[in-house]
Each structure stands twice: as structure tokens, then as C-alpha cells.
């Protein structure tokens, strides 16, 4: 097939406009300085504020002392640290609940599991704002395709079982200065177990996923310094600790936790 120059020109114009559209989107810093924003951008900014300061901006549905950006590092813009530019991936089927999930349900489940709180209603302003922020971050991504660095890296099989005892040693040496010896967290650093951490239904409670996150990003600012085996060991150690119950199993315990907390 012969490709005419006209086609090339059209393709060129199309790609350049696509690139243009991406550049044209104002940055969060620019948006924060605007005195007035329309409904969409004000929701984007609100979503950004929820991600970076969940405790003040979405406290209604939050049950622990984490922030979204504790896992979605750099407000969900960092590759291999659960980046939030994934609007094009939804809706999709997920094994976690055996349903077709829209981005709204995905966000609501974050509140329920990772934030150990209450599932917000579909039309809660917080959910809509985070959806708007996710949409904003996803500008320029290809629909249905996985963005580069989505989620956390899957660690290769090391050939050994994860060893929690070894994980404890690594944790005390490398992690406890920020996350505390008993996982209670320090100022600005999130707790990793205990009643103020994510619950047993959260994705971080999965050894493989947590290990991938730890290997790629921990210790903060010095990611990929642990070996794969060390990351798996630490992950297994965290997995053994006490944390809030899975809201799908222990309903009564969950109620008590909420009423007490």
C-alpha cells in the first residue's frame, strides 16, 4: 500500500494535536494558584488535596491515620508506586469482588480497605473529586492499555519462601527509623500495622504486592536497594502483624472498631 503525503500530514497534525492537548493541561501548581476554577478543575484540585491530605479533606470516610499519598507516592504520579493515571483501565473485571468495576467503585473500595473506613456512596463529593483527579492524571494515556509502571513491579521467583524472621531483622535495621519499632509510624510517616494502619482486606496485605512496593520504593528515596528476597521477607513480616479486620469477614468486630476508634 502506498502512503500518500496527505496521509502523513494528517497523521502529523493528529499526533501534534494530541501532544499539544497533553501539554495544554495546566499543572496542579498552576491550578492551585488560580483564584477561580470551573467545576472540573476545582474537583481536580479537591481530588489532589484529598490524595495528599486525606485526613483533613476526606475524613468522613477514613478510619485510620493513613494518607492516599502514603502508597500512591508523589500524589499518584510516581511509576511503580501505584500511580493513579489509570482511568483508561476502567471499567474492568476484578477478582477481588468478582464484579465489573468502574473507577468509582475502585476508589470507594480504597476507602473501605486501605483507609479502613466506610465505603462512600457513589455520588459522594470525595469520590467524584478523586475520579476527576485520576482522569486529569490519565490525560494522554491510551484507553485500555496499561500505563508504564502501573501498580507495583511483580518480583521474580527467588526460589525461597519468604522468611518473616529475617524480615524482622531487615525491618528493624532499615524501616523502623521511620515506621517505628512497633509499626506505629512517626510524624509524617505512616503506620504499617496496628489499628491505625490498613486492614486485612487491603491490597497491601498481599505479600507479593507489598513486596513489589517495598522493593521498588522503600526505604523512601532509596528504592530498589533491598534484594528481592529481603523485600519479600519484610512483606511477610508485616503480613503477620495485628491490623484491623477485613470488613467482609468480621462484621461485629468491624462495628466495634469503628465505634471505638
Amino acid at each position: 500500500m502506498k502512503i500518500g503525503p496527505g496521509f502523513l500530514l494528517v497523521a502529523l497534525v493528529l499526533t501534534s494535536t494530541a501532544a499539544h492537548a497533553q501539554q495544554n493541561q495546566p499543572s496542579i501548581e498552576q491550578l492551585l494558584e488560580e483564584p477561580f476554577l470551573d467545576d472540573y478543575y476545582s474537583n481536580v484540585v479537591y481530588g489532589y488535596e484529598i490524595i495528599t491530605d486525606t485526613q483533613t479533606n476526606a475524613s468522613r470516610y477514613v478510619g485510620n491515620s493513613l494518607q492516599c499519598s502514603n502508597c500512591h507516592l508523589q500524589a499518584g504520579t510516581l511509576e511503580d508506586a501505584l500511580p493513579l493515571n489509570v482511568a483508561g483501565m476502567y471499567p474492568k473485571w476484578r477478582a477481588k469482588n468478582g464484579k465489573r468495576n468502574g473507577i468509582g467503585l475502585r476508589i470507594r473500595e480504597c476507602f473501605l480497605y486501605s483507609m479502613d473506613g466506610i465505603m462512600p456512596p457513589e455520588d459522594a463529593p470525595e469520590v467524584l473529586a478523586v475520579s476527576a483527579y485520576v482522569t486529569y492524571l490519565s490525560q494522554g494515556q491510551v484507553m485500555g492499555a496499561e500505563p508504564v509502571g502501573r501498580g507495583v513491579p511483580t518480583l521474580p521467583d527467588t526460589g525461597y519462601d519468604p522468611n518473616p524472621a529475617n524480615g524482622r531483622a531487615v525491618y528493624l535495621a532499615q524501616c523502623s527509623s521511620c515506621h517505628g519499632e512497633r509499626g506505629e509510624g512517626t510524624a509524617g510517616m505512616p503506620p504499617v500495622w496496628g489499628l491505625n494502619a490498613y486492614n486485612k482486606g487491603a491490597g497491601m496485605n498481599d505479600i507479593q504486592q507489598a513486596a513489589g512496593f517495598i522493593w521498588a520504593n522503600m526505604p523512601l528515596g532509596n528504592g530498589k536497594s533491598l534484594t528481592h528476597q529481603q523485600a519479600l521477607d519484610v512483606s511477610a513480616y508485616l503480613n503477620l502483624q495485628v491490623r484491623p479486620a477485613d470488613p467482609r469477614d468480621s462484621k461485629f468486630l468491624k462495628l466495634l472498631e469503628h465505634l471505638l476508634n
Binding site: Y46, M119, P125, R248
Partner: protein, 523 residues
Amino acid sequence: MIRQLLAEATPSFSWSARPGNWRIEVFAGLVGAILVIPQGITFAYLAGLPPEYGLYCAIFVTLICSLLGSSSMMSGPNTAVAILIGAAVLPLAGRGSPVYIDFVFLLCMMVGLIQLVFWLARGARIFQYLSPAAISGISAGAGFLIIMASLDSMLDLSTFNTTFFYEKLYVIASDARDLVNPFSLAIGLTTIAGGYLGRRYSPRYFIIIAVSAGYLCGLLVAFIWPQPHTELEYLGRMPLQWLPLTIPNINMDYLMISINLIPYAITIAFIGLAQSLVIVRELKMETDQNINLDKEVYAQGMANFLAPFFSSFAGAGSFNRTRANQSLGATTPLSGIAAAGFVLILITFLGPVLTYMPMAAMSGTLFIVGADMIKWRDIKHYAQVRSELAIYLATFISIMFFGLAVGVVVAVFLSVSVFMLRISQLELKVEPGDAGLVLKVKGALFYASVAHLTERFHSHAGENLTVDLQYTTHIDQSAVDFFIRESRHMTAHGHKLTLLINDRQRKFLEKLGASTELELVSL
């Protein structure tokens, strides 16, 4: 004049000198606080705001209004005002988003300012022209809107927009299996049943019984099924502060867009004041409180203007809480001040318990509140007079189909036109006198009623006429012009027009130069 305004503008505390039982007042405040908590939360939902704003409204609007006012009226979150705020701001921004809240604050400040202008213009009298039938019609229409709004959250529908209410009912009925959340519906129905059963035993606290029934049903549901399965909507944690000071966001862009809000601001200001003043007027008639209506207008306007600075939205007098207050024997603003304090204390302690309050239970109470506003007794009462029934039904139906703002305009228009029609009716009686006919005129003689008089004059053309004006309440220039014209016409045909008048009317007629043209006879 200025001194009088200043006296109205400052808190008087004259009630503190009046003999009254402060214990009764404080207890009434406690009951008011218990009643207002579910209302504040649900009305915040109606206004499209997070629940804590309703509670702040219950605290600060009540407090400011009671401090500045002179009556035992309980102000605070109000249904009609909340619905109107939602209707006004929803087209501008997403429900509950920061921009939405900014616009609500701006709207409330506008409402407060308009009410303060009403106060300066001594506008309290205007509300005497709103007929009771119109007020009942507005209240019934608001009740209907509340019931429809409560369905949203009771059936756990994500809000979908329909033009008319019957469309929504049709969609719900035809797609009930997919749309309706059975858990939510069960909790809502339990709440409503609890409310109506509870009313038999305790007419005063049945709202509390209803909420408790819904809450317990919600706990039961949460105990058996997990939330990901039930998808129930809970109230959640309320980040409550004791002094939630905010500075409303005002700049050129906001002001330009908020021009759209002006009609709503006027409607809200008008409806809020109308309700407050109806309550105050009833209080004034039924109790011996020393109430100054203008001071109440000022208090309400100031409370609404200051509301945004305390993270709350505009409010108005509450019928049900004022009634509870009155039945407990409260007679001073102290009860309102106490209620504000108790809300703060109760919420601080109830906060963790309220976290797991299902929104379906809240909307169940909303349903009861709405159903109570449509009173069968009112319809029967107004059915006796055709014009009253017409006003009531026209108001109610236009609110059902076109919303509260249109309904209020209809109500005002109809009340005023019925009033006009009545006042322009003259009672005319013709009697034979010693020098021709005597025409006795009862009523106000002004441009609108002169036409009626003209007809009578023409039917008696060709006779000497004496017009007896001693029962006429008012004469305006167009009536005098009419007499002069008729007098000239009659003299040209050889007849005579005589006016029987009193001293005040003589002064007015002489000022207009009618004494040279007309034969005036003093009584």
C-alpha cells in the same frame, strides 16, 4: 429613627429581667438540640452540603438569632431554605465540592443582606399580605419536595435528574429490581414505622424514636451483611470543630457567576422571613412575650449574613422546634441559646455513634417531616372558601411541577391579586333622598375601584345624585378627577352632583381644588 434602629440592632437582653424559670428554658433548649440534630444533618443533605454544615447551622444560626432576637422562636436549619439552596447552587457546581460550598456561602451572605435591606425598609409588614392559604400551600409543596428527596437516599438511588416527579416514580417503579437497594429500603421503612408508632406514645420525641429505630435496624443489617455487599450509605465521621471560623471566598469571578443566584437569594430571603414572621406572629398572639417584629427580621438577616463565617448555611424559624419549645414552657431567647450549646456538647459525645448512622434512617425521618407538612386538615379548612382553596392548590401544584421558587412567585401573585380584587370591590347602596338619589359608598375609592362606581353612575344618568362618602376609607386623586368630570357632565345636562364628606376628606378635596367644581356638604 436611628436610635430605634440601633436599639433593634444590638442584643437587648431585656428578657433576662423578665421573671422566667431558667431551668425550664434550659431543658427546652436540650429538647430542641436533640430534635435539631437529625434535622440539621438531613437538611444539609437537601442543601447538598456535608452534614457538619447542618450542625454548624443548628449551632450558630440559632445562637445569633436568639442573641439578637427578642422571642423564644427557634431558628436554625429550615427545610424550604435548604431545598432552595440546593436548587440554586447545583447548576453551578458539583454537590458538596469546594466550589459548591463557596457558592452556598456567597448565596447565604446575599440572603442575609437582602433580609437586612428588608429590615431597613421596615419590610415586616409586607408579609401580612401573604395569605395563610398561600403559606400552607408553600409548606405543603415543600413537604412534597422533601418526600421526593427522601426517596433518593431511602432507595439508595444515585441522583438522576428528571424533569417532573412522576417520571422519577415511573423510572423507580419500572426498574425497581436494579435501582432499589433492599437494605436501604428496609432501614427507611423501619424508621418511618418507628416514627408513626412512636408518635402514639410520645408525640414530642417521636423523631428521636424514629431515628433510633432506623439506627438499630442499620446495626442489625451491618451485623449480618458486610458493607461491600449492602452498599449502604453511612453518615461517616464528622470532623466537628468548636469554632469553625471561615472566610468566604469572594472575588470578581465568583461575583460574576453569582448574578445567577440573585433570584434565588431573593426567594430564599423572602421565604425564610415569611416563615420566621409567621411563627413570631403566632407567638405574639399566643403568649405575652414582648416581641418586636422588626428586631426579629434584623436577627434573622444578621444570622444568615454571618452564617458563612461560621461554616454554616442560611436558616429560618422552625415550626416544629418552636412548637416543642413553647409546649415545654419556654418564653425567652435563653432556650435558643441553650439549644445551640447543647448541640455542640451532644455532637461531641455522639460523634462516634453517629458514624454508623445509615443515611436511609435519616431520610426516613425526612419522609416523616415531609409528610407532616402536607396537612389534610388544611385542605379541609381552605376548601370552605373557593378563592382560598384555589390559592392553596395552585401553590401546591406549581411547586410539585415547577419547584419551590416558581411556587412562591405564584403564591405571592395569587395572594396579592385576591387581596386586590377584594379591596377594589365597593359596596354601593342607592336610596331615594329628598333631592334625587343618595349613593352610599363603602370601601376604598381609588383608581382600581372607580370603574365599579362608573357603572353605577351610568345606570342612574339623568337624575340628581348625592354621593355619601362617610364610609369611604380612602379617596385618591383619580376618584376626585372622576367626580369633577362627572359633575361637569351632569351640570351640562341640568343635574346636580353633591358629595357628603367628613372633615379629613374636605381637606384633601380642597387641596386638589375640587371645592370650586363640586358641591361639598360636610356632615
